[in-house]
Each structure stands twice: as structure tokens, then as C-alpha cells.
Symmetry: C2
Subunit: 213 residues, 2 copies
DNA sequence: CTTGACTAGTCATATTGTTGACTATGAACG
DNA sequence: CGTTCATAGTCAACAATATGACTAGTCAAG
């Protein structure tokens, strides 16, 4: 149940419409949570029913009418409660890692391409995050901003996003380089066998074993 | 639908029982995916029905009978297909980040405690990953192992896990230090106001606005 | 003068993931 | 002699996320 809190946290600095929220949560700029528009609209509706956010209609001349939401006192109290409760550990969950885990048994070509693609995406996010950070801290140096600036929360989460994407980029490039080097060194690899075993699933005596470990 | 592929990838180096799988996917050792036992048993059952894995009963004298699963040729083909398909981007999704995003509006005490706790957990995982990596590469140096060793897939994913946890630890410590310093500098902070605005939600003219941005 | 992109939002359904309880057996702790 | 721990697994219910389709208006380019 952290999406609701992520929404509350995102609404803390300034009112946003569902649509604006959706963009913030969708484009990788979501450095602390991710969600699709549908989820956000639904969550905003729930939050409003429970009185944790309130919306006000804004009629626009040129564009469709929108509703800007802000956090109520009850919403702030709920966030406070959430912040004091225990956090569940965070996990990595990544398609590409699953594929690389299987790298010794599948064709390396697509993996190399995907890793490099991913590195480029990470690079773009790194640039974006750096720009955002520069903007947030204004003229100040980072240390100074973190000591004396207002609203450091978003800055800190953006720093985490930056570090994450740097880690991503570095790992992707390293992985691509290694897989490339290896598939050049042993061209018959991939789904096929190396010098030793590979297709034989195991010593496989068909029934009954004991002495596990 | 990546859980099934994560299971297949995990079963590639050696047969495992559902129970063993569950432990591998549960304890942070799951550096490429995470899942609870129930999901894994269910997924194994599905995979077996579809012929992507096959199990064999192993009767043990001292412990309950178990079933060891291995990937079939069809399973390998499915993995191959998966590896060649596009990966969806990976997102950060972390309770603690949500809380830090709200750091300027909630009590910093619990955040500091949680960040330090998290740093300690990350440190433990770092140790674990380093041990696992050392074991995997045997006597070889890292570069040599990655060039010439067998099964580098698990090594690479473990490297990602290591880097992730290092990033986690560093960020948590930095965040804790900064929040600590700030709450020492301005003791009245948290849910309350700083010198400037904070409780006032916005300039808030009650109805109708135009010229957005 | 139509196609496509952007703003703004909704609905229904499917897939995934989480929680909690429950069955068994043997081993070790004290 | 009873409790707890570890292995090995299952079931049902629920919460959270994701997918896909759809409305409706504005603007700009081709």
C-alpha cells in the first residue's frame, strides 16, 4: 500500500492534476516510485473519498478542464504515520537480469544488444537527473544546498535515482563488453555446448537418492 | 510474465526442489528476481504442466520426500525466446524512498533510523555477495574469470546485486547524515514549519485559473 | 482537411503478488 | 517430554499492478 503514499509525497510540493502526476510517475523521472495513469487516477479518487487529498476544478480556455489536487491535513498525518512505520525491503526485479542470469545457455547476441540499449537509456536518465538536480539546488553547491536549502527530500531521492542509473549504465556496459568478448572467443556458444558439459542435464540417476549436501 | 523465466534461469545450473528455489528467491540472494514460496510452487506446477520443466521424486530417509526440477529442452527454447524479446525497463520501487521524498514534511527521526537500519542490511548483503562471488570465481581473478570461466551469467547478476547494495548503503548513510545534521540545525522541523512557508498549501486563489506554465 | 500528438480522464478485465493459515515429519534443545 | 526449528509443500482470499480500449477537445504539420 505504498502507491497512495507515493502520491501524497508527490503532491507535497505543489498541486498537480492527475495527468501531471501520471507523467511524473511514468517517465523515468519517477525516481522513487512508478505507476501507470490508470492507477493514479484510481488512487486519487480513493484518496479524495478518504479525505487525504482535496481537488479543485480548474477551467482552462484552450485545454480540457482539469482538477488540481493537494494534500489535506489528514493526508499529511497519514504520511507521517507511514514514515514512522517499518519499511519493507526493496528488491531488484528486472527482465534483463533474468536474461543475463541465463547468459551461458542462450544466444548472447540479443543480450548484448539489449544491454547496450539499456546503457544508452540509463545515460539519458543520468543527464536528465543531473539537470533536475542542478535546477533544484539553484546557484548553491550540493553540500551547501543539502545543509541549508529548503525541501531536500526530492533532491535526495533524485540522487538515489542518479546513482541507480549510473550503476545500471556501468553494469550494462561491462556486461555487454564481457559477453561480446566471450562470444568472439568461442563463436559456437549460446544454446550450444562449450568444451565441457551443457546439454546433459546432470549425472541423473533416475530414482532415489539420499545424503543431500 | 518474467517469474517463469526467472525460475527457468535459476534452474539452469543444477536441479532444485521448490523449497530450495524458494530460499534462493527469498533471502536477498535473489539478485535478479524475488518471489515468495507460494508463487514458486505455483509457477513450478504451471511450468511442469506446460512441459518446460520436469521433476523427479527423491525419497529421503530422514526428511520429507521432495521433487527436484530441471529445465527441459522446451524450457530452454522458451528461455531463448524470452532472452531475444524486448525487456521492459526496470523501475525503482522503494518504501523508504517514498518516505525520504516527504522528508521535509514529516518527522526526521524515524527516517534517520530507517536509513541507518537499511544501510546495515545493505552492508550485510554486500558481504554475502562478495563471498558468493569469491566462491564462484574460485582461484581466478575477476577479469580472468569473466574472460575464461564457465557460467558467467550468475556472476554478472551477482555483480549487479553487489553494486546495487553498495549504492543503497552509500545513499542511506549520506541521507541519514544529512537529515541528522539538518534536524540538529533546525530542531523545530518535521511536520512543523521552517522559517518560510510550509503549512500554507499554495498561493491558492480559490477558483478558475488560466495560463498554466 | 486529415493525420498525428498532446491534454485530460475513465472503464473493464487480466495477471501478478501478498497474506495468512494449514499439513506433515524428523532433529535438536533443554 | 514437550517445544521449537528446518524441511517440504499446499490452499484460499485478497490486494496491487498491468493491459487495452475508449471519449473528447486543441493544435500544428503536411
Amino acid at each position: 500500500m505504498a502507491l497512495r503514499h507515493a502520491v501524497l509525497a508527490a503532491l507535497l510540493d505543489g498541486e498537480l492534476s492527475g495527468y501531471q502526476l501520471a507523467k511524473a510517475f511514468d517517465v523515468g523521472v519517477a525516481n522513487f516510485w512508478h505507476a501507470l495513469p490508470q492507477q493514479l487516477y484510481a488512487e486519487l479518487a480513493r484518496l479524495e473519498r478518504e479525505g487525504l487529498v482535496a481537488g479543485r476544478q480548474v477551467v482552462q480556455e484552450t485545454r480540457p478542464t482539469k482538477r488540481l489536487f493537494h494534500v489535506t491535513d489528514a493526508g499529511l498525518a497519514e504520511l507521517e504515520r507511514f514514515a514512522a512505520a517499518a519499511s519493507k525491503p526493496s528488491f531488484i526485479r528486472d527482465d534483463l537480469l533474468v536474461k543475463v542470469q541465463a547468459a551461458d545457455h542462450v544466444d548472447a547476441g540479443p543480450l548484448i544488444r539489449q544491454a547496450e540499449e539499456r546503457a544508452a537509456i540509463a545515460e539519458a536518465k543520468i543527464d536528465l537527473f543531473r539537470r533536475i538536480l542542478r535546477k533544484m539546488r539553484g546557484g548553491l553547491g550540493e553540500e551547501e544546498f543539502l545543509r541549508t536549502g529548503g525541501r531536500v527530500g526530492p533532491y535526495l531521492t533524485c540522487l538515489r535515482g542518479l546513482a541507480f542509473e549510473e550503476g545500471n549504465r556501468d553494469w550494462c556496459l561491462r556486461t555487454a563488453a564481457i559477453l561480446r568478448e566471450r562470444s568472439a572467443a568461442m563463436p559456437g556458444e549460446g544454446t550450444a555446448a562449450m568444451t565441457r558439459e551443457a546439454t546433459a542435464p546432470a549425472p541423473r540417476n533416475p530414482e532415489v537418492a539420499h545424503a543431500e549436501r
